[in-house]
């Protein structure tokens, strides 16, 4: 099996891997959105190698936090990136940042795995189906990158931030979270609700001010 794989990779791939290393100081690389577009347009293996190195170890860490073993998390990171390769042409940077798109692929695979042990890699073509025209709210999120949310997260109270963090990072029920923090379940839920409403409201304000700016420019 192993020489089988060697045959498949061949020397050209090794050159590509080497080239990726060299290109670090050369042409502008590192923007993950651009890497995905290069995969979509040119089946660019060097771009893929770079994206893989950047995201796979993070996805592995994330999934270990969600309760997977190191081996399961490694497999999931592999599968997620394979889906990035296969579905790159569906990536739309105006809808989501690269990190958000990759995260949503990994999340779908994880949930699919939880639901049915073996049904991975059958994600819908477009995770975010086109919205019906003029649907309210839909313009708000998407373009926002993950860093923006990171900033917004800082506006939450430390208590709110903690329940959000635990909800995303740990495979705990809200009851478990309540126990871990020694607070009532109702408090966990209301903190979570407030935090999410707050993040959403901040999103909406940002989106509004953004579109207001665009409008005033065009006048």
């Amino acid at each position: 099996m192993s020489f089988d794989r060697d045959d498949l990779i061949g020397s050209s791939t090794r050159m590509i891997v080497a080239e990726t290393g060299l290109s670090r100081g050369g042409r502008p690389v590192g923007v993950p959105e651009a890497l995905i577009l290069r995969i979509a347009e040119g089946r660019d293996r060097a771009a893929y190698a770079q994206l893989f190195s950047q995201y796979a170890p993070k996805l592995k860490a994330f999934m270990m936090g969600r309760g997977l073993t190191a081996i399961e998390a490694e497999d999931l990171a592999q599968d997620a990136l394979l889906n990035v390769w296969r579905k790159a042409s569906y990536f739309d940077p105006s809808k989501a940042s690269a990190t958000t798109w990759i995260y949503s692929i990994a999340r779908n695979l994880h949930i699919d795995g939880l639901r049915k042990q073996k049904r991975a890699q059958t994600l819908p073509e477009d995770l975010w189906a086109p919205e019906p025209e003029q649907a309210p709210d839909t313009h708000l999120i998407g373009v926002q990158d993950a860093k923006t949310i990171g900033v917004l997260m800082q506006t939450l109270s430390p208590e709110q931030r903690e329940v959000v963090r635990l909800s995303f990072f740990e495979d705990l029920s809200h009851g478990d979270i309540a126990q871990a923090l020694s607070i009532p379940l109702g408090t966990v839920k209301s903190r979570l609700r407030l935090a999410l409403l707050r993040l959403r409201a901040a999103f909406e304000t940002r989106a509004e001010s953004k579109s207001a700016k665009i409008e005033s420019k065009s006048v």
Partner: protein, 217 residues
């Protein structure tokens, strides 16, 4: 379709996002999402929150040959995904305007729970005390007063019903929890709902108590 006024609770939506709901609850959430742009936006927000945490996480090294393996995998021809065959729509649902996610789900044969009321349970593995079923009630009927021993989510698919908290139209979702009690009144048209309950309902009236064993809810 009229605008949706009653949304899913953010905490439920977040539980869906992180894969903590059972099959029936997930179906209900997915059906509401299909009908509700507001909640779809929340889900995108959750993806963005998750992504922000992914950016900041301390990475864990992959295996030494991980990149080699990844590059080998993209060279392999992609296996055609198994075609998903939607289960045949039961006769009792034919002719009803249903969301795609309900069409794609499998329901057991329906049974009559009471005069003018039929139910059909989701064909899914039993998950604790949870029950998920379609309930079809003839227009103009009033359900017996009952309260709840656990979270129960009701999503209106067709028709309309109301209780003391408001009126619910297609796409609207009402959640009841322990201690909530109500007596829904169905509007003129027949009403079809998808219900995901964590625990059986608790009828308050003698009639309700008499009916419950037969209705199997």
């Amino acid at each position: 379709m009229t605008a949706i006024n009653h949304h899913l609770d953010e905490v439920i939506l977040l539980d869906y996002h992180r894969g903590r709901l059972n099959a029936g609850q997930s179906l209900l959430v997915e059906t509401h999402l299909e009908m509700c742009p507001h909640c779809r936006t929340s889900l995108r927000l959750f993806d963005a929150i998750g992504a922000s945490m992914l950016e900041d996480i301390v990475p864990v090294d992959m295996a030494d040959d991980a990149l080699e393996l990844a590059l080998a995998r993209i060279e392999r021809p992609e296996e055609a995904p198994e075609p998903r065959v939607a289960p045949e729509l039961p006769a009792y649902l034919k002719g009803i305007d249903l969301p795609e996610s309900v069409r794609a789900a499998a329901f057991k044969p329906r049974y009559w729970g009471a005069p003018g009321v039929w139910m059909a349970h989701l064909d899914a593995p039993k998950d604790g005390r949870g029950l998920t079923y379609l309930m079809h009630v003839k227009g103009g009927m009033q359900m017996p007063v009952h309260d709840h021993q656990g979270l129960e989510m009701t999503l209106v698919l067709t028709g309309c019903f109301s209780d003391d908290r408001g009126a619910y139209h297609p796409g609207d979702c009402v959640s009841c929890d322990e201690g909530d009690h109500h007596s829904p009144l169905i509007a003129a048209d027949d009403c079809l709902c998808l219900i995901a309950a964590n625990a059986p309902i608790a009828p308050k009236t003698l009639l309700g108590k008499l009916l419950q064993p037969f209705a199997r809810i």
